[in-house]
Amino acid sequence: MGVTCVCQWPVPENKSEQQVVDMITKRAELLGATKIGAFCVDCETYQSSLAIAPQKTIHVMHNTEQPLTCYTILENPGSSSNCLVADTMFDQIMHKLKGFYMPRKAAKIESKGQHYELDDFVIKIGTVSVGPNTKGILFEVEYTPCVVIMDCWSLLSEFMQSFMGTHTPTLPLYLAGKQDANYTPTDTVMQYLDHFNTFMGRKTPLPPPQR
């Protein structure tokens, strides 16, 4: 897994998400990217029952890139969040813990879309939706050969500039704290979670986890 940057694509007022996705897809194909398939990153949130104090939130996420894996992030207010990487059977454990952790009503958020590959880069354009409502567009770029963020951030941002022009994002807060360490698939999922939280308007911006 190479270094990945997940960023939000701003949707102009007069256009629909679908139109923007089509536009990005056209740009990618013009650049010479080949379509590989579809992808989906989803997140389910569970809230601890009132019996457990203080209140804790658990996010269970899946990424089609790692089909046998389930990521679980425990949000502890006031301290850093933990991420557990487990087999997909973990979902069944959450099922068993229904008494203690109830799924939130506004259930599943997911980012679904197409997956393109251009030589060493992997581009994923995902439409974020909560049930039938579309919330926005998440754009993911991965540079496969490199695993150290510091080494390839400039290359990644230059590549994104060719796509996004003026909207090129700066180094995400999450990655800023991990410049030297090796990039893992967990980091991608944490970035997605950050964006999902922003879309849902949650008040707790997660501080980057300390390593």
Binding site: M1, E65, Q66, T69, V85, D87, P185, T186
Partner: protein, 515 residues
């Protein structure tokens, strides 16, 4: 009146009469006993004749049941000689029938006739084996189906154990061939594998093919006897490998890896178990699922065998054709089925201490890796000329290194030396090596060039004032100091020189030039 017993006179004793009487009574009793014994004996023999067959049948059946799986279906006894209980998933049920031999009068000349009769299925009759051979395109392809000729029809009085084992072997060979044929059809190779009748032909290297044939000899095939002249020998090693591979397949079917924890589903390999927790991507998962099939495994083994033979023959040919540097090959005793190694020592006779070039060749499936004296690793393909190229270059280098070592001993200094000369005529194969030495007194220069094609060229350079006087002195050059410059190189006829080998000749030359 008194009654007195009167002793009467004893009658005269007649012993003969007594004896006669006793004898008569004894003989009467004996006759009765003999008659009775005779009757008993007769009845016993008759009884044993009657019941012997039945008793033997049951004891034979018991012995059969101890070795083979039998079950009673209605009135018949059916046995199972398939490999299903060993993990095979072949469609053939391998059922044989056990019957009592018909009662017939035993002639005195007959051999032992078993009370049991085994009937094997008609398609498992006869003998069978898998014929595996490697052939190159230059040899003639043997005709299809012309492999029988060894062995006649199975003798009738074969013991039931041997009959069943032979039939089981036929079934095993059938399964093996069916598995290979299925894989040959499904695999996508650059040159597709051919399946014709009972033969599978696969390309191993360009020009070399592997031919696997199912040879089934029964009474029908007796017509196609072949003298065996055109048929190459089957490779017993490969046949054994094929058998082992199929057995390994059976065992894997039966014994999946134990689940961790014990309540987890069976059959999940350790890699798959850890894949989730290690966040394995899609590409890596696809690689996990790919496993090599039987045909691929045996092809790898064949490739390695062919490559090993090639290298062996090449080294042998080189050793025979080049007496000068002596090449010793030490093949590693413990080789694996896909890798073997050979350590070569290139040395000159009587100069072993001074200059020896060690070399190691590791022979894999498709490649040969050469490890040189200085630690460089060269990867060569399966092409013969590449390996020859490498070896000849090493030999040329050895000669020059040997000369360098002698120079050290003799006190000559090395002006320059090169392992891969870029000057002079290009060699058709390999690289030439060269060296230039100067004598201790500084008035002779020796230049040696050694190449696989151009062999050895030795030249000596003298200073101008020591050259032949026949060269005319120029009028322009008056000053005597110009005579101390180097003159031309003169070539030495190495073939006419005395000396055991090149190093010896150079040593003698150096000794002659030093003064």
């Amino acid at each position: 009146m008194v009654l007195d017993p009167v002793s009467q006179e004893q009658p005269p004793s007649k012993p003969a009469v007594l004896l006669l009487a006793k004898r008569k009574s004894l003989s009467g009793a004996a006759n009765i006993l003999i008659a009775g014994a005779g009757r008993l004996f007769r009845s016993q023999t008759q009884h044993s004749l009657l019941t012997s067959k039945r008793q033997d049948f049951h004891s034979e059946l018991l012995r059969l049941h101890q070795n083979w799986r039998l079950k009673k279906v209605g009135k018949a006894i059916i046995g199972d000689l398939s490999f299903k209980s060993a993990g095979s998933r072949f469609w053939h049920n391998g059922a044989f029938e056990v019957t009592k031999t018909a009662d017939s009068e035993q002639q005195p000349g007959d051999g032992y006739k078993s009370p049991l009769e085994i009937t094997v299925p008609s398609d498992l009759e006869g003998r069978s084996y898998i014929h595996v051979c490697i052939k190159s395109d230059s040899e003639n392809a043997p005709q299809n189906g012309s492999f029988s000729g060894v062995g006649n029809k199975l003798p009738d009085d074969l013991h039931w154990q041997q009959k069943l084992e032979i039939a089981q072997n036929v079934l095993f060979c059938k399964e093996l061939f069916a598995q290979l044929a299925r894989e040959a059809v499904q695999l996508k190779a650059p040159i597709p594998h051919l399946v014709i009748g009972n033969q599978i032909i696969s390309q191993v290297f360009p020009g070399i093919q592997l031919c696997v044939t199912l040879c089934h000899e029964n009474t029908i095939d007796k017509k196609h006897t072949d003298t065996g002249n055109g048929v190459p020998q089957t490779s017993a090693v490969l046949e054994h490998s094929l058998h082992q591979l199929l057995r390994a397949l059976h065992q894997n079917n039966l014994n999946p890896s134990t689940p961790h924890p014990v309540t987890a589903p069976i059959g999940v390999s350790k890699k798959r178990r850890l894949a989730g927790a290690q966040a394995t991507g899609k590409k890596e998962l696809a690689e996990f699922n790919q496993s090599e099939c039987l045909l691929e495994k045996i092809l790898k083994q064949v490739r390695h065998m062919v490559l090993q033979n090639r290298v062996c023959k090449l080294i042998d040919n080189l050793t025979c054709s080049m007496p000068d540097p002596c090449i010793l090959a030490h093949w590693s005793v413990s080789n694996q089925n896909l890798q073997s190694s050979v350590k070569l020592q290139i040395m000159s006779n009587s100069y072993e201490q001074i200059g020896r070039t060690p070399l190691q060749l590791v022979i894999g499936v498709d490649q040969v890796k050469g490890v040189c004296k200085d630690g460089r690793v060269v990867t060569l393909s399966y092409e013969e000329h590449e390996i020859k190229n490498f070896l000849l270059t090493q030999i040329a280098q050895h000669q020059v290194n040997g000369i360098q070592a002698i120079a050290k001993v003799m006190g000559w200094q090395v002006l320059q030396s090169s392992s891969h000369l870029g000057v002079g005529p290009m060699e058709k194969i390999g690289h030439a090596a060269g060296i230039m030495l100067i004598s201790p007194s500084g008035d002779r220069i020796l230049a040696v060039r050694n190449g696989p094609d151009s062999h050895t060229k030795v030249s000596v350079q003298f200073p101008r004032n020591q050259q032949s006087i026949t060269e005319s002195k120029s009028d322009v050059i008056i000053d005597g100091k110009w005579d101390n410059l180097w003159g031309y190189f003169k070539e030495v006829n190495v073939d006419k020189m005395k000396g055991r080998n090149l190093l010896n000749k150079i040593e003698l030359l150096m000794a002659a030039l030093t003064h």
